[in-house]
Symmetry: C2
Subunit: 379 residues, 2 copies
Amino acid sequence: MGFIMSFSSFIPPQRTLMGPGPSDVSARVLSALARPTVGHLDPTFVGMMDEVKSLLQYAFQTHNKFTIALSAPGSAGMEACFVNLVTPEDTVIVCRNGVFGARMIENVQRLGAKCVIVDGTWGRAVNPQQLEDKLTQHPEAKFVAFVHAETSTGALSDAKTLCSIAKAYDCITIVDAVTSLGGVELAVDDWQIDAVYSGSQKCLSCVPGISPVSFSEQAVELIQNRKTPVPSWFLDQSLVMAYWSGEGKRAYHHTAPVNSLYALHESLLMLQQEGLENSWSRHFQQHQALAQGLKTLGLDFIVPEGERLPQLNTVAIPQGVDDAKVRGYLLNEYNLEIGAGLGQFAGEAWRIGLMGYAARTENVALCLAALKDALVKFG
Amino acid sequence: MGFIMSFSSFIPPQRTLMGPGPSDVSARVLSALARPTVGHLDPTFVGMMDEVKSLLQYAFQTHNKFTIALSAPGSAGMEACFVNLVTPEDTVIVCRNGVFGARMIENVQRLGAKCVIVDGTWGRAVNPQQLEDKLTQHPEAKFVAFVHAETSTGALSDAKTLCSIAKAYDCITIVDAVTSLGGVELAVDDWQIDAVYSGSQKCLSCVPGISPVSFSEQAVELIQNRKTPVPSWFLDQSLVMAYWSGEGKRAYHHTAPVNSLYALHESLLMLQQEGLENSWSRHFQQHQALAQGLKTLGLDFIVPEGERLPQLNTVAIPQGVDDAKVRGYLLNEYNLEIGAGLGQFAGEAWRIGLMGYAARTENVALCLAALKDALVKFG
């Protein structure tokens, strides 16, 4: 059986990552990542897992005991929330104003539950009045789900208000915080979020592949009182709880991604050392600097001011400018990655990320200089 | 809201990993892991993904086009096989001779399909005659699933014979190769395996968190002709295919674990450079050296000769020896991890791994010396 190959070690280029994620990973986090692997039940590693829980509680601003790092990307974190909480008898209201709201709908539908859609405009925040209208029309609704920071459009929704409306109708809230965690204010307990998931590769600036999740007491009770087993064994959080629980002996469920969790620990430590509020301010300040520079270049934001994500800047591609050529030029000449448009915005917009470690003065300067050059060449 | 923490960077000890996995990760793989992160749609990364596919085809000995690395641990690889192929109308015959066969049953049951169990003895290979008997009794069976190398017991089953029996009854074969891949012969095409999954952290000696999977053409057709969507969005391989496919533009599904895939690429490259057959021989030779030393120490194998996994040696704990004390002593005094017993063998056996990079002369010597010392102390 012939297998002819002559491959070498893969030496990636040194990019500056200003797309929608993964974001720039610092040398400090990469160095943590490469520390010697220990067993996933090693007492030293179990101690580190406890610290990861505490650091995640801080990042999420929650005292939820069930706050862990799921061993898979953010889309598995999303699925974990739906598959553990929602049963086929339930009605879920999902707000859709971009790709990730649409993915939530997919999750609900594949579970066989009823999905009521609050359809919003791409590039805009979710409209709280529209949510309230649907809640009035659907008193049977048990869950409200929405995306805090829509990575596909760059729009920030008012999670606090949306959750308080949902709670007024006794709904359980499921929130996508993939791109918001660490980049803008997020207060899981104060805002009454029952289930929240994020990703390691956005404003935490860790390597991709891990999804921080947190469940409120009410959500945990719901999981514990299920009458049917969770359809997914891998994502069954009652089993995962027994593995991450600090109380007594840990029960083996799967082998945790040891080295990626070293990296997550380090990136969360960096966030804590900087301070959450300082991190939010830094993202906002770098966003302002970028916005000013983009204006000078004649580029317009897609999202109106006040609904913009500082960490993800969606910019309209000017008429006559070749999208792919500009992005290719930035990548090849400047080793700079910016993001293409996604979904409705494919070919219409660029997504410029200022996430985590990428939200730095030097990155903003590089991006503006490179874009200026590219617009002259391909404008 | 008070969050009082004073954590530092996590500096793990330098262990020798001779448990059931994760196994020792070489400096070469750790160094690949820590290379600068690039975007998951970066052309250089997409090229590397193609190489990973080819290297996995070699490791699995298959020409299956759909051969990829799933972005989650082996247990998610298992679930991906079941959730994509099996529907609630189907009957699946599962051979159970340890923890991982039992997990397959969980998967089938949670899908709502009918599960017929071939119940074997723990610590023994699956009995081909028992499988054939069940196939005769259940002509409605559509799938046969079993574990090639049972990590919980150290038993190796004759995958070639089991698959040929399953095929004689027109069944689709699902095989767990988590601990076998790279450590003992595995020939996916020749043996007619339709769906196979493995783990990165066993005989590939890569960091944990990735699951290589491969689907035959027949399996892919089954997925493509499904009448209902796969219940899991994250594990829906028709979507994952579009992301990993080299033909045309890649469709975004989720963000791949970029750095872990660097590491997998490097570990697969090491396997290819050594040669598959050489890797199998090395595992067997080190196993023989270990077996001889264990005999000298008066320790007995649980699995009979001829059914033993070279890469996972299950040894009966002698009467009167304190299991936990011995393992703790090895860990604290020698930085050596060996595995505890699992399931039926908890407290009854040790599991000594010789997986991938851990299958080296120096490791065998260390393990025997340390065990000798510990048995004197706690015997």
